[in-house]
Amino acid sequence: MSSEPLPHLRRLESEAIFIMREVVATFERPVMLYSIGKDSSVMLHLARKAFHPAPPPFPFLHIDTTWKFREMIRFRDDAARRYRLDLRVHTNRDGLARGINPFDHGPLYTQVMKTEALKQALAAGRYDAAFGGARRDEEKSRAKERVFSFRSASQAWDPKNQRPELWSLYNTRVRPGESIRVFPLSNWTELDIWQYILAEDIPIVPLYFAAERPVVERGGQLIMVDDERMRLLPGEVPQKRRIRFRTLGCYPLTAAVESDAATLPEIVAEMFAARTSEREGRLIDHDEAGAMEMKKREGYF
């Protein structure tokens, strides 16, 4: 019997598996939010491990704003087929009908096509627990987020009204209508995610790897022109640059970085030399401090 403690990635893996099993054992209608990003890929992988040899005993929910990169959608459908997932895709039809889009509507777009859409889908599915891939190291206001984050019947998050979490004794009790968002990757850092993807050889969307792609430079950000809906400003001409993404979302709102990292080890190496946080590429966070906290109070993941 060795007395060496488990290496840190194994400990994080084991903890995430424990959390997922706890949810399945105590909730009636769990669901896993599947955003197709690297964190979702890791979550899916962990879910397969947690319930092996059974398949993950819950559906996977994707909130499709209709503005995701095409490669993401292809990857999503492949993954669903390969692992025989019960994939459920939801779009805010009403927002779509109103023509809400990322070019004209800024914060309203996020509110309607992401936050509202998520609330609609969670309410319609009567899910009492929803797994999300958020990590505490992503942003300051997340540092105090619980692993089991309690939401009122209106799906609001009240930072003052969260339950203390001691040891690994999670209080999983909710009343009808109330729900819990669960973050199995709470204790992971971005670097852990990449190292784990490397160690476990987890498939991720090819957009994470550097390649020549058509982009425009806008306000110092590189935005990829993923389809003909991209609105070019006067004088803007898409040009091929060698880029990759550190985080994935709606293509008009996701900035790329110039990079030569075309393999996983190269990405990890680049991470160590990195000088900007991944959120830099998420245009959603570029408003004033406390923005994320506001979004969360409203029900954003």
Partner: protein, 633 residues
């Protein structure tokens, strides 16, 4: 740190080294302004966990909110929530992450404010080491004593005494040594495995990442070196094997696996294991993971075990090796840290979650409260938010556990309010009070089903709740008459009558009301066991007690009947003249006047006594029983 990353040959070797890094979880605590946030901010900054965009924000924030003149205020890196930033205080536990090439760290950052006991306990529960900050100018304060006590209570064995702001006392060695002496004097009683005192300036970085040239007299390690090097007994070498079954995995008829995380010791395929609760044994056939079967599993690993034969085990059971079993008991002595907004009511039934098992639990005896500034024990009737006490608990069913000192995972529990679902306490089991290990529950031949069958009915509890004068007894009496006429076997427990006999020793304080209802609920349960339909007519003002009553019988056997009358109406009726007396101050703690009544939110039956006669309302209760299949039409 950049230099720590240099000299690594190949990338894959580097990645492998990282995968193989150990993880240290530690806690930082100190009084307000001791420099805790500054210290953590500095650790993050100096280990390069900061990216350029975060740095830009930090600089602009420093100018806006900073307390460090024109310099960078590292504390702003870690003060998270908007509300707190505005008030300039930290009020919750935050977790921070950084890594060197030797270790990965998780820091629980707990503030020194009012809620400190609750927050500290939360942060300490998962930590292996605590960094206690003191301000070199002020030395050991009452807060320091509290912090050390909580750290030891939660079972942390390694402590760093960080004597901060040493720059403000001129890097004085004597000052440092006298503080260390003071600390050791009172902390000796806690028998920490290691206490490492480090003089430092968090603001300037002295002795944080590297040894400081400004204190040549200090020969010990810098904080980070110590954190990287300290040996933490990762999986409790020599600890007994413990495996709480978390979830039973049954994808098809051919596979039945017990999923869980090893909570102590290790186990090999082929080992014989025992279910602690029943004593049933089997051998481990396979240790299943998606990456293939393992020959062995050790502490912290999440695996799935299959056994060589079918046994009765489910979520909440603990598997152990036969030679070293956990204790099994339904009565334990434990330390409680109270975290609820409402105070502890001895006798009230809470839910207790220990490992993967949740049972009912009540504090039967509060032995004492601990005054954590003096460590004195004081007599107490209750515990309020942030109080710490030592008590006996009685559980609705036996659980398997170890004393907390032997295993933090199997010796800890939380208490949950049955009604609000809030986590109201954290508990550490010190010992079992009665070894129930050898006492087996007698499976009686004549059981509830048999008795009910001979009466030809289905037992149930009809729980009438409502204000005094709402009409509970009137309606309950009518219902009983109707049932009697239908040939049903019944019994009516009425508040006033029971208070003349069984409960005549009880008054009307909150605590007595809780006990009153507990006894009535238990009595009702015995009658249900006897096969009867029991009518309980009690004001029973608290939701928690009614939930408790619902919880002690089987699902579908309990019906809450809310006899509803607005207070003004009940007071107007005042059949016994009690409201008049209460208003005159002659009766204390009178429900509705000077004591609260918590209305049912979701009663099985709601009877609005202002809208229909007692006769019609009683008929409605009968209707409900018919629909629920308790009595034939």
């Amino acid at each position: 740190m950049a230099h720590r990353l240099e000299g690594i040959a190949g990338l894959s070797a580097f990645v492998a080294a990282h995968e193989g890094k150990s993880l240290l979880r530690f806690l930082t605590c100190g009084s307000v302004d001791d420099g805790k946030s500054t210290l953590i901010g500095r650790l993050l900054y100096d280990t390069k966990r900061l990216f350029e965009d975060q740095l830009v924000r930090l600089k602009s924030d420093s100018a806006k909110y900073g307390t460090n003149g024109s310099g960078i205020d590292f504390a702003l890196l870690v003060d998270g929530l908007q509300a707190e930033r505005e008030q300039g205080i930290t009020i919750d536990v935050a977790y921070r992450y950084f890594a060197t090439d030797r270790r990965r760290f998780i820091v629980a950052d707990t503030p020194g404010h009012e809620q400190y006991t609750r927050n500290m306990a939360t942060g300490a529960s998962t930590a292996d080491l605590a960094v206690l900050l003191v301000d070199a100018r002020h030395g050991i304060l009452r807060q320091t004593r509290r912090h050390a006590y909580i750290v030891s209570l939660l079972g942390i064995r390694h402590v760093v005494l960080a004597v901060n702001k040493i720059d403000l006392v001129g890097f004085d060695q004597d000052r440092f040594q006298s503080i260390v002496r003071d600390f050791n004097e009172f902390a000796a009683a806690f028998r920490f495995e290691s206490v490492t005192a480090i003089p430092m300036s968090a603001r300037d970085g002295d002795n944080v990442i590297a040894r400081s040239p400004r204190m040549p007299w200090y020969a010990g390690p810098a904080l980070l070196d110590h954190l990287e090097e300290i040996a933490i007994d990762g999986n409790g070498e020599g600890a007994a094997f413990r495996f709480p079954v978390q979830w039973v995995n049954r994808p098809d008829l051919t596979f039945r696996g017990y999923a869980g995380t090893v909570a102590g010791g290790s186990v090999k395929a082929g080992d014989e294991v025992v279910v602690a609760r029943t004593g049933e044994t089997a051998r481990i056939a396979r240790i299943v993971t998606m990456d293939g079967d393992l020959p062995a599993a050790e502490t912290g690993q999440s695996v799935t075990l299959t056994l060589d034969r079918e046994i009765d085990a489910s979520r909440g059971d603990v598997l152990a090796l036969p030679a070293r079993r956990p204790e099994v008991s339904d009565q334990v002595a434990a330390h409680l840290i109270w975290m609820g907004q409402e105070e502890l009511l001895p006798g009230r039934s809470y839910l207790l979650k220990a490992g993967s098992r949740t049972v009912g639990a009540a504090v039967t005896e509060l032995k004492h409260r601990i005054e954590i500034e003096t460590f004195a024990t004081l007599a107490a009737k209750t515990l309020a938010l942030n109080d710490i006490g030592f008590c006996n608990l009685s559980l609705s069913e036996p659980i398997a556990f170890d004393p907390y000192d032997e295993n933090r995972a199997t010796g800890s529990f939380i208490l949950i309010d049955r009604f609000t679902n809030a986590t109201v306490a954290a508990g550490m089991i010190r010992f079992g009070l009665r070894r129930a290990s050898n006492i087996h529950w007698q499976a009686l031949d004549v059981n509830k089903e048999a008795r009910a069958a001979s009466l030809g009915q289905r037992p149930a509890i009809l729980w009438f709740t409502g204000l005094s004068g709402a009409g509970k007894s009137t309606i309950a009496n009518l219902v009983e008459k109707k049932l009697h006429l239908m040939g049903r076997h019944t019994y009516l427990l009425d508040g006033d009558n029971v208070r003349h006999g069984l409960n005549r020793d009880l008054g009307f304080t909150d605590a007595d009301r809780v006990e009153n209802i507990r006894r009535v609920a238990e009595t009702a349960k015995l009658f249900v066991d006897a096969g009867l339909i029991v009518l309980v007519s009690f004001i029973s003002p608290f939701r928690s007690e009614r939930e408790m009553a619902r919880g002690i019988v089987r699902e579908g056997e309990f019906f809450e009947v809310f006899v509803e009358a607005p207070l003004a109406v009940a007071e107007e009726r005042d059949p016994k003249g009690l409201y008049k007396k209460a208003r005159a101050g002659e009766i204390k703690n009178f429900t509705g006047i000077s004591s609260p009544y918590e209305e049912p939110l979701n009663p099985d039956v709601r009877l609005d006594t202002t809208s229909a006669s007692a006769e019609i309302l009683a008929e409605r209760v009968i209707e409900h029983l018919v629909r629920a299949g308790k009595i034939p039409r």
